[in-house]
Structures are given as C-alpha cells and as structure tokens.
Amino acid sequence: MGGLEKKKYERGSATNYITRNKARKKLQLSLADFRRLCILKGIYPHEPKHKKKVNKGSTAARTFYLLKDIKFLLHEPIVNKFRDYKVFVRKLRKAYGKSEWSTVERLKDNKPIYKLDHIIKERYPTFIDALRDLDDALSMCFLFSTFPRTGKCHVQTIQLCRRLTVEFLNYIIASRALRKVFLSIKGIYYQAEVLGQPIVWITPYAFSHNHPTDVDYRVMATFTEFYTTLLGFVNFRLYQTLNLQYPPRLEGPNDKDQADEAYAMDSESSLEKLSALSASLARVMVPVAEEEPEIDEFPAEGETAEQEEGLRREHEALEKHKRLFEGLKFFLNREVPREALAFIIRSFGGEVSWDRSLCIGATYDEKEPSITHQIVDRPMQPTPVIGRCYVQPQWVFDSVNARLRLPVEDYFPGVLLPPHLSPFVTEKEGDYVPPEKLKLLALQRGETPGNVIESEDESEEEGEEEEEEGDGQEEEEEEEEEGSEEEDEARLKVMEEQRTQGKKPQVTMGTLDKRRQLPQEEENEAKRLAIMTMRKREKYLYDKIMFGKRRKVREANKLAQKRKAHDEAVKAERKKKKKQGAQA
C-alpha cells in the first residue's frame, strides 16, 4: 500500500463546482447583486452529473455553479461598480436624512453608472453569436416598449426599448428579411432571416397590460438592461451592413431640408415618424442599382447538378417571396392592428397607408383610386369602392406564410375565415396534417385551387360509402392494437399515407391478397423473433422509442377522428339547411 490516504471530495467533480452561497461569499456580494451579475454575465447554474459526489455526500437540494465561472466573475469590473453603487445609495440616504439638498444633487449627478459593452463582446465574440441569441432580447424589448410610461420601470428604459425595436423593424423592412408571421392567441409571432440566422420574436397585442403582482420586475429590468445594449449594438451593425445611417433617418426629398428640420424637430416626433414604418430610410451611400449578387454557374454533374438546381430554385422562390406584395397598394382601416400590418406589407414590398387621423406617416388617402387592397375587420362596408379588394387581415398573414397571394374570396369581410395555420410546423411523416395544409401544399405545387376543391367535394360524396367501410376497418385496427406492434404500425403508416394522398387507396386495403400478405407476415414474424433475442437494455430502449412512436400515431389518429366528426357535423347541418331551403 503506502502513500497518503486519499481524502474524499478533494479532487474530481467535487472541486469543479461551487454552491451558490459559497460563490456569493467569495464574490462578497448580496444575493440581489449576485443575481444581477449572473444575469448580465450570462452565468447559470450547472447540474452536475453526480450530484451526490459534488454535494460531498449530501443529497440536499443545492444549486451549483461552475467554479471556473465564479472565478471568471471575480475579475469583473462591474462588481466594483456594484459596490460603488451601494456606497452611493448609503451616502444619498444620509444626505436625505440630513436634508442636505445640495449634497443630494451633487451625489445624484455623480451616480455611478456602468456600461455593458465589454460584456456583450465577451458573451458574443462574433456577430453571428449575437444574432443567434437575439430571440429573447427582441421579445423582451417589444414587451417593454408596450409598457405604460408610468410605474413599473424607468421611462428611459421604455423609450429606449421602443426606439430600438422600431429601428430593428425598419431594418427588417429595408432588408426584406421577414419570412413567417403567425397570429397566435398570445401575440403575433414573426420570423425573420438575418444573415442566414432565423430570428423569432413575439409581440403582444396592442392592449394595456394587466400587471401581475407575482412577477419580479427588477429581474426583468436587469434582463432588459442587457438586451437593450445587445440590441443597440446589433442594430448598429445591421444598419452598417445595409449602408444605412445608424441613428436612422427617413429618406427625405432633399437633405438640407431634412437637416433644418432635424434641428427644429425634437427626437420624439422623429421617432414617431420612424415608428410609422411607412417611409424608407436614408442611406449613407445611395446604391446605383439594385444589384443582387447572382449565383455563378459552375459546370456540374450528377448529384451536385441536381443539388445546385434545387438551390437555384429555392433562391428564386425566396426572391419571389420577398416581392410578394410588390406593386400592391394597401389601405388599413382603423380597426386593424396598424403597426403589425404596416410592417408586414412593407417588408414584402407593398405600399401601405392609413387614415391620417389614426397615425402620423400616412402617405395617401382612402379615396386614392390606385389602392388595390383595403384591409377591413368589420362585417359591413358601407360604400365599397369598385376596383379594390376588401380583405380581412388574415389574408396578409396567410399569404405571407403560403409564399403566394392567396385567392381573396375566402377572406372577404364577414366571411367565415379558413383556419389560420402555424407556419412553424413542418409535418414529418406520420404526423397529422390538417386538410387545409394539404390544400395549401397543393396550391404551392401549382395545382389550380378550384379544381382541388371541386374534386374534393366530389370525392367526399363518392367517398361516403368508402368512409363507412373505412370506419369498420379502423375499429378493427383499434381492437387489434394490443396485438403485434409492427403490424399495427405498418397499418397506421398506411393509414397516414392514405390520409396524405386523399381517400382513394382505402379500397386497395380491402382487396389485399392473402398470398401477397404471406411474405409480409413472415417478415413480421421474423422481426418479432429478432426482437425476442434483443438484449435487455436494447429492448428497453426499443420499447421506449416504439412507445413514443405509437403515442404519436395515436394522437394523430385522435386529431383525424375529431376532424372527421366535425366535418360530418358540418355537412349534416348544411344538408339540413339545403332541405329546409328546398321546402321553403
């Protein structure tokens, strides 16, 4: 043997982690300051692999930080600023207590402030890193920009958030980076693609907030402090990439006027004009022509050629998508969400205006004859103007998601709208696909929508009998669900395929020959036998995966059944109405 006895917990993972309280003591900070520091520096607790080892044998619930992280915090200049701030607060309180108002003034003037620039650079060494982490920043800033200017947080923060978000929206418009939009019950989701990075953010609907009491606004304010700094730098950089002036200015008729105006104009109204999103921004250097870099053609063979072809097609589709609303003139009624729609329409190349009394920045009047679409969210339009389409706002959103201008008939005011689908869902094989999505896919493939609908109607009527048969089959299947999984799955897969391809193959299912089924069955049996020989661990894993798959299939089936029941109910209603109509 020989040698010193090895002591426990003096090496290995126990020395790599540190509990929160110890970290706090090491940094000599109060808990609130420690949390603030963690938020700003992006330090988060780690879950050790062997918690008991790290916890020195105890199983008490503790949060662990990486010791390296905490050591890294030790040299942070902001920690000193925190301490200065504490001293400042103490002095200020004393001065207040003594009613030394001049001291209070002086102290307030010399309030210690800190900058987060270096932290941004440190946390996001490259610009792409920053873009990747922009989702939360944007959502938070959009939320804060809608807060009332009183109460919950500093007015400057709210104003800054508003300014930064407006700048970002203007950038998206200028770069035509918007890709998807979604009207959810929580708010409006947007997805933009900036420098190849998808950025998703959510904005609340424009209502006043019912401020909850169980939310710590200080935490949110600290996050916002960091996010505003991040967003500011990102905006600067983004504007630079497009050759736009950074504190953004609107493109004016002549620059001199602009300058004079800028002198007299206070910043608030310029921000308002900017936030109207109706005018384009001034550029540092006016580009000679809209030259899009084209993909050079390389001689390629075989697969690479195909790939390139696919890429080119995709690129073309993207270009088309970017110019979706080009040449269209929109007019927004006052009841529709102006900012969201203006943002979307402008970022797809459309022109937009609204009532002059609604908001600053209206460019043309409602009577303008060249208006092509008027967006209305009311059941009745008193005097429709001939030559323009009146559509509900969902048309804009659905068109953007479908990457084509959808037929406007479904979106007329007062009409029962088709369901609004999430553009963020990409159905994999075996997932439930709502029929509207299928229709949309068909439209995108270039099939004429009218035919599809008609054929569907026909097939519906034809398919009724088949459906009944199909019902019987389904029931059988459900009974057999306890039986062998594979067969079940195979059948379900077949079902899915049927669903995806319409309703015709149900017949073939019934006529399956026994002789043809035999090899299939044999194969299944072989598989079952092979599963029998699996080792315990693998079997467990396999069972788990298969359980998940089956659950998925079950859920998809449930949705499909619900839809079917709903459709049948609707059809029955329609028939009844028809009959009543005929009788009348």
């Binding site: 607790p45 780690h46 009207l183 935490v219 600067f236 369901p419 963020f424 020989t533 699996m534």
Partner: protein, 720 residues
C-alpha cells in the same frame, strides 16, 4: 422629591423669623443655663412658632382651626397648640424633631453650642467636630454623636446629656400589655412615637401630624407652597429696544473678508482658465458603435467549452392560432381535464380558442408571466448537457439469419390428440417414431398412433403419471412409467409382433431375486389382469418417483426420487451437477444463475446442455466453455416446463406456462473456435391455458423435424 424641596424652601422662607425667635430665646437661656427642661420647653416654640407666623404672613388664617376640622373625629375637641405645648412642657419630655424642620432650629442650636463650649471647655475637640460635622444639625440633647445606637444596647443609659450626665433608659421596658393599656387609656397614643436617641416617648403636635399626613400623600411639606403659581418669563419673546450687552460691533464685521476674497479670486481664475467646468447633466442615452469591428472567433474564453447555450423557446403549433383548425380545439371533457391538471403538467400551457375575426382577439393575460418565466429559466435553471439517443429503432434489432434459411423446423400445427380428461404431464415417442405414449393426471397412460392421431390403448394406472419414457432400444418395445411410488414397465404391444414377443420373453426371464433386505427398490411382477393391459413389471420404491429415464442403449433404467431427505437426490435446485457414471463421481457443477431449474436436455453430441427454469429463462451451457451459461434466452413470458433437443436436426424447443412452444435453431459447430448459433425460428401457439398452466412437456420426433407437445388442456399436439 417635590415635597422635600418644598419643605426646604418653606424652611428658607421661615429662616428670618426663626432667627428672631432664637435671639429672643437667647436671653432666657442666658438666664438659666443649666436648666435643660426649660431649654427644651423653649425649643419647642422654636420650631412650633414658624408655622403660625408664616400662616399669618401668607394668609392670616389660623392653621390650627383647619387642623381641628381635619382631625376632629380622632382627638379630643378643644385641643389647642398652646395647650399641647403646655402639656408637653408638663410631661417634661424632650421631643425629637423631624429632620425636615431641624434646620429651623439650627441657628438657635449653634448658638447654644457655642455658649456651652465657652462654659465647658472640657471638650474643645468635640466642638470643632461639631463645627464641621453634619451631625451638628441633629438633636444634641444626647451627645453621643453619630454612632449606631445598638452600641448602647447593653448599657442602662442611652447616652449623655450636655452636662455629660448619663441619660438613662426608662427603667422598665414596656411590654405588650403596657402598650395595650396605653392604647386604651391614652387618647394621644396614636400620635406618640419613641425617640430612639433619648428613649423617650414624644407626642407629636398637630402641625407635625399634619406635616406627616401631607408627606404621606405626596404633597408638599409646606402647606402654603403653591406649585401652580403663574410663571414669570424672564426672557420674553418681544424685541427690546435695548441690547443685552453694551459691547460695540467689531471692525471686521464692516470690512470684506480677505480670505474669502482670495478664495473667490482663485475660483474666478480657475473658471477663466477652464479648470472648473459648469456642471452639465450627463447624457445617459447609450452610445452604440461597431462592437464587432474586430471579430476574433478564436478569442473564446476557456469557460465556453463548458458553455451550454440556453435552448430556444418552442415554436408555436397550430393549436396556438387565434383561428385554429377545429380539431385542435379541446372538447368539453378535455378542457375540464386541462383545468384540473397542475400547470406544470399540462401539455399545452394555454387553452386553444377560436375567434371569428382578428378584432375579437383579446390580450393574452399571461404574456408578462411567460416572459418572466423565460427570464427565470435563463438565469436560475441548472443546465446539463444530455445526450439524446437518436437511433433508428430498426437498428437496435439484431440481424439474424432468416428463419427460411434455417428450415426444416416445425411451423404449423397439424394434429391434435384428444382423449385425456386432465392435464397431460408427460409424453414419450417410440424410437421408431410411430407411437406416442402420454401420461396424464386422469390416472391413465395412453398410447397413440402418431400419423393418424388415434388412441390405440388406454392403460389405467393407480395414480398420477409423473413421467413416462420409451425404451430407446428399437429391439425392445418397453415403456417405463413413473406412478406414485413405483415405476411400471409396460409392454404396449404395438408395432412389430416379433419385437413385442421378444420383449415379453425378455421380461418373463425375470425372476424375483433373492435380494437381501434393505435394498432401496423392490421388483415385483404384475398381476394377471394388469398383464392384459400390458403391464409387466413393477419396481417399487419407498418414496414417490418423479422421473424415469433410460440409458441410451436401453439396458439401464434410472429413476429420480424427489424427497428432500433422501440420500439419492440427484436433482438440485440451484445448480446442475454432471456425474460420470462409470467412475461414479461428480465431474462438473454448472451454475445456471436461476432459481428453480425445471427441466433439462442434453445435446445429442453431448457437449451442450440446455435447461429451462421456472423464472422463464432458458439457459444454454457449453460444457467446453465454462460452467457459467453461454447464453440466457428470455423468450417466454412465463415459467418454462420442458425443454427438448432434436436428436438429428439442430433444433431445440421449449414449452412454457404461457401456452407457447418456441422452436429455436441451435447449431453446434464441430469447430471448437466457433460458438453455437442460437436463433429462435418459430413460436408455436395452440395450447390453451388451463389452471394457469400451458405446455407441460415437449418432445421431438426421433427422425422427422416434428414436435410433440402436451398441454394442461388435456391434448397433445403435433407440429410439423
């Protein structure tokens, strides 16, 4: 406190008249210096006097009248201060004076002292002491001074008077009775106190009693003192025309300060030079610049190796739409279930809703909450990198040779042998493969023709058939049956007549041996009617027999007797033991790693053993490899009852309580380097479950790839 102060003041106020009185009383003292009595009588008015004089000065009313009114019920009417004085002088008792009022008599007393000192120059020291000592303020009728009186306790006297004569204590200590009598007789008893200095009783005057009463009530000692008289402001708030002091103002208050001038000029200079800047509000709007001008992707800090980026929020699905497809809306019961779930358990953290138009969509009430929760997740939630298994489940399934390539093996059920009325425990196939013998719980042994499924013979036996075995020698037609405590040898009389007759001849040669008693078994010949059924011999054991087996050539018969205490137990629960029969010794002990071994089969080549166990495992031993299992197959879901090897084909089968028989391909290679290949090829189902039992025995056909199985449902089945 207030009372004490008041008393003092009153005393001060009364000083002047008392002084007068002292002067007045001086003359009689001069006249009669020795007479102590007279002096004391003079003193009394000394301290009694001030009150009337004061009252006369203050209000002019007689205090004695008021006192009378107070104490009228307690003392005799008409008692007057002058009378009291007179009576006290009559008593001739010196009075003790309360300390409060002593200073009144101070002046007089000092005068007396000086006078006495001049007369009696014996104690000059004492006089000096009196001059400074505070004790001079006290009563000096007793001249012992300021000493504890208990020092005199043992003496008859209590001190000395001014003349140095002893002052004697009263002759007799007054006892309780005296006190009582005094109390009864003396109307002034209540106002009589004992003076400790002189040991005399003192009767308090009315004034003194009144003073005591006032002090007891916490009032001022001096009745005439008014604590609430109107205050007179010395410093009034009014501006007076005259200054408080008469001092003229300094010159420096008229000329500018030089120091200040210097200070100001210095500041002016600093402002001129631009050293002092006017304070301007700091611009708090953040300045942005190109932070990533010099991007350095390699400047990633060390900690970033452990960095776990926060996962992004999940993107919304169709259900979150303001106008979702109808199938995503929750039905009534789903909604109720959603509401009853814990918020953390819910699959969706919102209720899907449908709105007909965009303007009807309300604000989402939990928007701020959700952002806040995201914030909390970002900075409070411990992160860990978790490897997600991303495998195709198909890849997990081991690649086995296809069963089709491993044919022949039994695939379908082709015959069912019905006849037994209870579970069929055991079966055995004749070496030729034409006949099948089965033993059942219905106390019968049946013999079947394999090809047709006909029952040829039914042999009733005396008990449950535990085991049955056909003699493997094709020249002999003999079946061994284990029933209760005996093994029966049957000649079924099937097949070739010559064979059966030769068997009979062989058995008829048997004659009961003259064995010594104490042999474990006893051979008996069957009775005549049993002979008709085919029964030939009966080997009687002392214990129940569980299993019988023939040697490979059919010469020897082995039987297993299952009773724990028996000396010949051959089967063990936990392990398998391999015996070398010729040498009669244990050669190997196999550890099957299972609890209850139920059945066992040996590979025809002899190097491999399979055993089935009640914990639903089939264990394959390769004797060349080790005593540990080569492979454990958990194919069955319930306990295994029987296992069997095929004598020709590389097949083995296992029957289990779950009613299935699994046929496996078990290829054993001659090459020692190649391990046996075990592949399950077929699951044969057919037997129905009966009393939780399924298949009880399995056996292969000796030449064909056929499988027989017997089940708890009373049938035998043939799979081909």
């Amino acid at each position: 406190m207030a009372g004490a102060r008041g008393g003092r003041r009153a005393g001060m106020g009364a000083r002047a008249p008392a002084g007068d009185r002292a002067k007045a009383g001086k003359r009689p003292a001069d006249q009669q210096p020795e007479l102590q009595e007279a002096e004391s009588s003079e003193e009394l008015p000394l301290f009694n006097c001030p009150a009337p004089s004061q009252s006369a000065a203050d209000s002019g009313s007689d205090p004695s009248e008021s006192e009378e009114s107070v104490f009228s019920g307690l003392e005799d009417s008409g008692s007057d201060s002058s009378e009291d004085d007179a009576s006290s002088t009559e008593d001739g008792q010196p009075r003790s004076i309360p300390k409060m009022t002593q200073d009144k008599s101070q002046a007089g007393a000092t005068l007396q002292n000086t006078k006495e000192a001049s007369i009696q120059s014996q104690e000059p020291k004492k006089e000096d002491e009196y001059a400074e000592d505070s004790s001079d303020e006290e009563d000096i009728r007793n001249t012992v001074g300021n000493v504890p009186l208990e020092w005199y306790e043992d003496f008859p006297h209590i001190g000395y008077d001014l003349d140095g004569k002893r002052i004697y204590k009263p002759l007799r200590n007054r006892d309780e009775l005296d006190h009582f009598l005094d109390k009864m007789d003396d109307p002034d008893y209540w106002r009589t106190v004992q003076d400790k200095m002189t040991g005399q009783d003192v009767r308090l005057t009315d004034e003194q009693v009144a003073l005591v009463h006032r002090l007891q009530k916490g009032q001022f000692g001096d009745a005439s003192y008014d604590p609430y008289e109107p205050a007179v402001d010395f410093f009034s708030g009014n501006m007076m025309i005259h200054p408080v002091t008469n001092r003229p103002a300094d010159k420096r208050s008229f000329i500018p300060s030089l120091i200040e001038k210097e200070k100001v000029s210095r500041m002016v200079h600093a402002i001129k030079m631009g050293w002092i800047q006017p304070r301007r509000p700091r611009d708090l709007t953040p300045q942005y610049y190109d932070l990533w001008a010099q991007e350095d992707p390699n400047a990633i800090l060390g900690r970033h190796k452990m960095h776990v980026p926060a996962p992004k929020l999940a993107l919304p699905g169709h259900a979150e739409s303001y106008n979702p497809p109808p199938e995503y809306l929750l039905s009534e019961e789903e909604r109720l279930a959603w509401e009853q779930q814990e918020p953390g358990e819910r699959k969706l953290n919102f209720l899907p809703q449908q709105f007909r138009c965009l303007r009807a969509v309300p604000a989402y009430s939990r928007f701020i909450h959700e952002r806040f929760e995201r914030c909390l997740d970002l900075y409070l939630c411990p992160r860990q990198r978790k490897m997600r298994v991303n495998v195709d489940p198909e890849d997990l399934i081991p690649k086995l040779p296809k069963p089709r390539d491993l044919q022949p093996f039994p695939t379908t059920q082709s015959l069912v042998y019905r006849g037994h009325s209870d579970l069929v425990r055991c079966l055995s196939v004749s070496p030729s493969g034409h006949w099948l013998a089965s033993g059942s719980d219905d106390h019968s042994v049946r013999l079947w023709e394999v090809n047709t499924g006909r029952c040829l013979k039914t042999i009733p036996v005396s008990g449950v058939v535990k085991s049955i075995a056909w003699n493997p020698n094709p020249a002999i037609c003999l079946v061994a049956v284990a029933v209760a405590e005996s093994v029966l040898l049957l000649n079924p009389g099937l097949g070739d007549l010559s064979v059966t007759s030769s068997t009979d001849q062989l058995l008829s040669a048997f004659s009961p041996p003259e064995e010594p008693p104490g042999q474990p078994v006893e051979w008996q010949e069957a009775a005549a009617e049993e002979q008709e059924h085919g029964l030939r011999l009966r080997i009687h054991h002392k214990k129940p027999v569980k299993q019988v087996a023939w040697h490979g050539r059919g010469d020897y018969l082995a039987s297993v007797v299952a009773a724990a205490e028996h000396t010949q137990v051959l089967m063990h629960q936990r392990s398998l033991r391999l015996y070398h029969l010729l040498r009669q010794e244990l050669t190997k002990k196999l550890m099957p790693n299972c609890k209850w071994v139920s059945s066992l089969a040996v590979h025809p080549q002899g190097d491999n053993v399979i055993c089935g166990s009640y914990d639903s495992k089939l264990i394959w031993f390769d004797l060349d490899l080790s005593t540990k299992p080569y492979k454990v197959l958990r194919h069955h879901k319930k306990a295994l009852r029987a296992v069997a090897f095929h004598p020709r084909y590389p097949l083995f089968a296992s029957g289990s309580d779950d009613g299935s028989v699994i046929v496996c391909h078990g290829m054993v290679y001659n090459d020692l380097l190649q391990n046996p290949l075990l592949v399950p090829v077929k699951v044969l189902k057919g037997h129905t479950m009966h009393r939780d039992l399924g298949v009880l025995d399995v056996s292969f056909h000796p030449t064909q790839p056929w499988l027989f199985s017997s089940g708890a449902d009373g049938t035998l089945r043939l799979f081909t």
